[in-house]
């Protein structure tokens, strides 16, 4: 599991790599909270390297989405979601609501 945050003018990119289960989801929560606490509410989550994403990780994604969108101050958008992960997110009814882009350039450009 690896997490890397890149600060851009428009937004932060949080790149997730590897396995996100109940054990590692708190690291992802910390990265999202760090961005929110620093006042950056426009976030792109680069999912290209994600191999596993359990309900614990999905719950954190939903929490960050709610937090960032409060008072219309920002959003959480996904980039490059691998097919299997997309199927799981879709099953959970996430993709209907969270904006998803084929790559990070398009996701960043959407802000």
């Amino acid at each position: 599991m690896n997490i890397e945050t890149t600060q851009l003018k428009r937004c932060n990119i949080i790149k997730l790599e590897g396995r996100f289960d109940s054990n590692t989801a708190p690291n992802m929560e910390q990265a999202l909270k760090d961005s929110i606490h620093s006042g950056v509410f426009r976030i792109v989550v680069d999912m290209s390297g994600v191999e596993f994403f359990s309900s614990a990780a999905i719950r954190i994604l939903i929490m960050a989405y709610k937090e960032c969108r409060r008072w219309n101050r920002g959003d959480v958008r996904l980039a490059a979601v691998p097919e299997r992960i997309a199927q799981v997110l879709d099953l959970a009814g996430i993709l209907t609501f969270i904006e998803t882009y084929p790559d990070t350039t398009l996701a960043v450009g959407s802000y």
């Binding site: 289960d21 054990n23 939903i62 959970a92």
Partner: protein, 148 residues
């Protein structure tokens, strides 16, 4: 071990302590067993997800911070790849868990119930049982491709 139930594959068993750091190991174990049983790659991912949710429930809810043992056993039976997760913690009643409303906007989404939802949606059959001797058991079944 229930040898009489075993089909084409010898059963595999993994016993780990009730610690979330063990989830990755469990996932790898289930993936290897499922591949050996002939589960498709998409199916391997689905049974990994379902098993991860069952084991997370055992560790976080049944043992709830106490140390205990989680047993994961895999075998083939009547055309199904079967995973059984056993713990000896607090009894779990799946009927008490409300189903998530996956069509509700995320702002109004209730946060629980997703793990159980995945167990049901990503397998072909889920069964829960509890008794003092055999512990709490979750049995997850995935149909094997025909012709095996």
């Amino acid at each position: 071990m229930e040898r009489s139930q075993v089909g084409a594959m010898e059963p595999f068993e993994l016993c780990v302590s009730s610690d979330l750091t063990q989830l990755a190991r469990i996932s790898e174990f289930v993936a290897q067993s499922a591949r050996q049983a002939g589960v498709s790659e998409a199916g391997v991912f689905e049974i990994q997800m379902a098993t991860d949710e069952a084991c997370t429930n055992s560790i976080e809810h049944a043992y709830s911070g106490h140390t205990g043992e989680v047993r994961v056993c895999c075998w083939v039976e009547e055309g199904d790849f079967v995973v059984r997760v056993t713990d000896f913690g607090r009894r779990f009643d799946p009927n008490q868990v409300p189903l998530p409303d996956t069509s509700a906007p995320l702002e109004s989404r209730d946060i629980g119930g997703l793990g159980l939802f995945f167990m049901r949606e990503l397998t072909d059959h889920v069964e829960f049982s509890s008794d003092a001797v055999q512990g709490n058991r979750v049995i997850l079944r995935k149909h094997l491709p025909l012709g095996r």
